[in-house]
Subunit: 325 residues, 2 copies
């Protein structure tokens, strides 16, 4: 099924169910008032949400209205936790070149994960605000999962059973601030402003058989101002979401509603393009001797959508404009 969070003036928004074809939506009244409540009470809530979903798909739901993505917040506007990996090694290798990072001896064996801010996650068509466009404004197209409660020390295999919903992410980044924060050793803070999400959080069956080996094996189409720059496939994710969850839970519990990200979707085949500008610029530098593609500035638009073979977008679309705060 497909779930969305509609704006209602509150910080957490209101849970709605969306039909498979994205035509209709209905509020999950009486089941769970928010996405977080649904995830926290999943065993009780999900069969009832599924029943509502099936009524919507059958055009048999009295409270159905047209699905309006512009009314959507992030599926979890305020999540208990946002942990973002860098699980596509092709991206990691290119970024190490871009940032001139020292070699990481654990690169292929231990996932790299940073803790991001989860208090102010942004909706799919919300403007993204920055104070300064000289900080190298960039996007990062990613996939993610929302988990139920995860206990400390869980295995990667067990971790997979805690995945409740899949999401599509634009992890906005300020590249000029990245290298200093990496060198200082405390991780990213200013370099990672609020992250944005496609409107729909979906159960894994929605993209079967492309949810496979705990990876979203779909191409993520990324466009800047209407020009497609990337269509990298999630299949090349080196660490699975199970691996990443287990890494995060090694010394802590994860609360229901925690979001785990894949990091920038990236493929070794250059024909797939890139899901972030930094990668594009490093490739330009390597192949042509100089970076040509500029970072983003006021008014630029970034659109991202994963696509099924039939061309449909199972998570909906992020389509955001960069604006001055």
């Amino acid at each position: 099924m497909k779930l969305a969070t509609y704006k209602d003036g509150s910080r957490d928004g209101q849970l709605w169910v969306v039909s498979k074809d994205l035509a209709l939506a209905a509020p999950a009244v009486g089941i769970a008032s928010t996405m977080l409540e649904a995830v926290e009470t999943w065993d009780a809530a999900s069969p009832r949400l599924q029943a509502l979903y099936e009524r919507l798909n059958a055009r048999d739901e009295a409270f159905a209205t047209r699905f309006e993505p512009e009314r959507c917040m992030a599926p979890l506007p305020r999540a208990p936790q946002w942990l973002d990996a860098s699980a596509f090694l092709n991206h990691g290798r290119l970024m190490d070149k871009a940032f001139n990072n020292p070699p990481n001896p654990d690169f292929e064996t231990i996932p790299l994960v940073y803790q991001g801010a989860s208090d102010d996650l942004r909706g799919p068509v919300d403007d993204v605000e920055f104070t300064d466009d000289s900080l190298s404004i960039d996007m990062e197209g990613e996939f993610g999962v929302i988990v139920s409660d995860v206990s400390m020390g869980i295995s990667a295999e067990q971790a997979i059973s805690h995945i409740r919903l899949l999401v599509q992410i634009n992890d906005w980044s300020l590249r000029k601030l990245g290298p200093r924060e990496m060198r200082a050793g405390f991780g990213w803070l200013q370099a990672k402003p609020s992250t944005a999400f496609a409107p729909l959080a979906i159960t894994p069956d929605e993209i079967a058989p492309f949810w496979d080996e705990a990876r979203v094996k779909l191409p993520l189409h990324v466009a800047i101002n209407g020009r497609e720059v990337g269509r990298a496939n999630g299949a090349e994710m080196h660490f699975s979401f199970g691996d990443i969850i287990a890494h995060c839970a090694r010394t802590r519990r994860l609360s229901a509603g925690s979001i785990i990200g894949s990091g920038t979707v990236s493929n070794a085949d250059r024909a797939a393009g890139s899901s972030c500008i930094s990668e594009i610029r490093v490739i330009e530098l390597l192949d042509q001797g100089a970076s040509a593609t500029p970072f983003l500035t006021w008014g630029d638009r970034v659109r991202m959508e994963a696509r099924l073979p039939n061309g449909s977008a199972p998570f909906g679309v992020t389509d955001q404009r960069v604006v001055k705060a």
Copy 2:
């Protein structure tokens, strides 16, 4: 006034008001059900909480019962955000020696802050669970503030006006995992398990005149298994809480209820002792040629309390036992 969160089986607990002498407590029924709700609706809630506080202090509150710290969760068991600085440069210098870190050119001018997990903050007398006591289990005694909504790009001076409550913190750490995570550049994750809090979140007037220059200028008494190892004073904090909040909000908004930490309280005067074991061990190494104090193991107890000149503990006490998960 002094506020606490009592366990009630929910993830966010129940808001209570505690008398100045820590003798009595009463639920904030009809004002705000949780600490987060109180902070989010501060202008409306705080005068009513203050009135309840004054009735408690005057022994004139019908629903008052004995204050029971063992019923307390963290003031915000689930905070929108937990951002922890390293604002005591004496601590930073010693830790750089302990971890053999490269020099940080911005050490005295740009605060070091990491984003911590805020979904599972622990109460003052909760056992602290770890899976492995070979990971160098350590404590970090700190002060912190809870803010109202903060806008992006705020100045350090303006930021101070958003401080609503002060807290006392034990930022549990796993030292063996720290250096690898620092070198990898994505910041701490496994090295920083769930953080614990003293029972009381207090308004700054509670410790006047020791809330000064946006710093908590009180000694933090730290004891391991009943032996005091530290009494460092918060006055030596190099960056103020205003500086740290402004640093965190440079490229993002901070939601009401975000917690900002000072980092380990540390003084240049060796007579003040230390608020973490790593510091003790580095000093032993520097002064005596070898570290002698062991990290913590199963059954060890850590007690922390800030003290006013009259000996009272304005935040209450954290007194926790290290146990195997």
